[in-house]
């Protein structure tokens, strides 16, 4: 690992000023489970490492009926999946957090880090997409809120500009009764990246679908959702849903899977996730 200066600001204001001052030379350091590997492999060589874990207000997980759930940037995946409010109101998120890495990794890795890292295979991204999460960002010019589906801009790229940091994400409250499912296909059950990840949320006659590891960024399948809206789910519609989803993604062949296998799995998982979310059986 190349040498760098380690900085540990205790306020957001100080963090922004450091990031603005050093620009490309500075790197935010959160859970570090991706970053330290990339620094070790010399893919990223920051001159200033800015540890944000000493900023108290970034570690909060709060919930209320009006505003929904707010998860701070430094809340770890284990803190989130052990949180009673998350378990009660967003079991889909507990499931997604638990599929990331190992227990040891989840003690360090954060949900906000998972999305900022912007891997196409990020396990928490599909559930956050179907929950229509807002990303809360602060930078030198003030605060802004970006819908999660505009946050990812490419493989390992996000919308953040120089000096900006994500302080938290907010899951807006869902007024109606809803169900959500996240299904992940990997080469093995534990400690693997997703070959394909599919999240589905059903709210009344609406079906929301999002996928990971099938395109340069995690994606919502809006056209397929439109196709399903208001319709009674039957065998032929489930088949159409799978086929339609395929037209909205661009899977590739890589070390984890061939493109052809991904295409098959997408159809299987979309169908299975919709069925599970609707309370049906796995056919």
């Amino acid at each position: 690992m190349k040498e760098f200066e380690y900085l540990k600001p205790d306020s957001i204001k100080e963090t922004i000023s450091i990031l603005s001052q050093f620009g490309e030379k500075a790197q935010i350091f959160n859970g570090g489970t991706d970053l330290i590997v990339e620094m070790r492999d010399k893919i990223i060589q920051p001159e200033y490492l800015v540890d944000i874990k000493a900023i108290p207000q970034l570690n909060r997980i709060t919930y209320n009926k009006q505003d929904g759930l707010n998860i701070g940037a430094t809340a770890t995946l284990n803190e989130i999946s052990n949180s009673k409010v998350v378990q009660t109101h967003y079991p889909i998120l507990v499931k997604a957090c638990k599929t990331v890495g190992s227990y040891q990794v989840r003690n360090r890795a954060t949900l906000v880090g998972n999305i900022c890292n912007a891997s196409p295979a990020a396990d928490t991204a599909p559930p956050l997409l179907v929950l229509e999460v807002k990303v809360n960002i602060i930078g030198p010019t003030g605060e802004k809120i970006v819908p999660i589906n505009q946050f990812f801009t490419g493989v390992k790229k996000n919308i953040l500009k120089k000096g900006e940091i994500v302080t938290s994400i907010t899951i807006p409250p869902i007024k109606d009764k809803w169900t959500g499912v996240y299904l992940k296909q990997g080469r093995k059950k534990e400690v693997d990246l997703a070959t394909v990840g599919v999240a589905v949320v059903c709210i009344r006659d609406e079906v929301r679908i999002a996928l990971g590891a099938v395109a340069p960024v995690p994606v919502r399948a809006f056209k397929t959702e439109e196709l399903l809206k208001g319709k009674t789910m039957d065998e032929s519609l489930l088949e159409k849903a799978g086929k339609s989803t395929l037209t909205e993604v661009s899977p590739i062949s890589d070390v984890r899977s061939s493109q052809e296998y991904r295409e098959e799995i997408i159809k299987v998982l979309v169908r299975r996730a919709i069925l599970q979310a609707k309370g049906g059986h796995i056919l």
């Binding site: 380690y6 890495g101 190992s102």
Partner: protein, 157 residues
């Protein structure tokens, strides 16, 4: 620039100066001569470097030494009192849950953390807790049995 850090290691308070680009694992092995934690993959997949930080298991290869400032760290060396082994270590011996031994310190530390947060784990709980610890001699069943046995006896030998 070196940073002065102060932390508790296996019950003893230490103050040392470390380079920021040194991982916790390197500091343990090279500066403190605690060579129980091993480097397997160096990328957080094998768990051979597992140690407890404030009672929680982490991959010490994915944590910087400077981050240990103010923390309480427990390594495999801190489990036994020098004469008597920890009940988990005893159980690993009893169940022959060791072949080459490279993964063992990490396995034991993950098991230690599991049993302190959940004293009566199911076999599924044990598998989930140890999923981040690879054993290339594939002695998993004996390891799982060893951990379940400690739980059954309520931590007693």
């Amino acid at each position: 620039m070196k940073h002065k850090i102060r932390f508790t290691i296996n019950g003893e308070v230490k103050e040392i100066e470390v380079e920021p680009n040194k991982t916790l694992l390197k500091m343990l092995r090279e500066d403190l001569d605690l060579i129980g934690a091993k480097e397997g993959c160096g990328t957080g997949e094998c768990g051979a470097c597992t140690v407890l930080v404030d009672n929680e298991p982490v991959n010490s290869c994915l944590m910087l030494a400077v981050e240990a400032d103010g923390k309480e760290i427990l390594t495999i060396e801190g489990l036994s009192d020098g004469i008597n082994l920890d009940s988990i270590q005893e159980s690993f011996l009893k169940h022959n849950a060791i072949q080459c031994g490279y993964c063992t310190p990490g396995m034991v530390m993950s098991a230690k953390a599991l049993l302190s947060r959940n004293p009566r784990p199911t076999e599924e709980d044990v598998k989930e807790a140890l999923a981040g610890n690879l054993c290339r001699c594939t002695g998993y069943q004996r390891i799982i049995n060893a951990v379940l046995d400690v739980a059954k006896k309520g931590g007693k030998k």
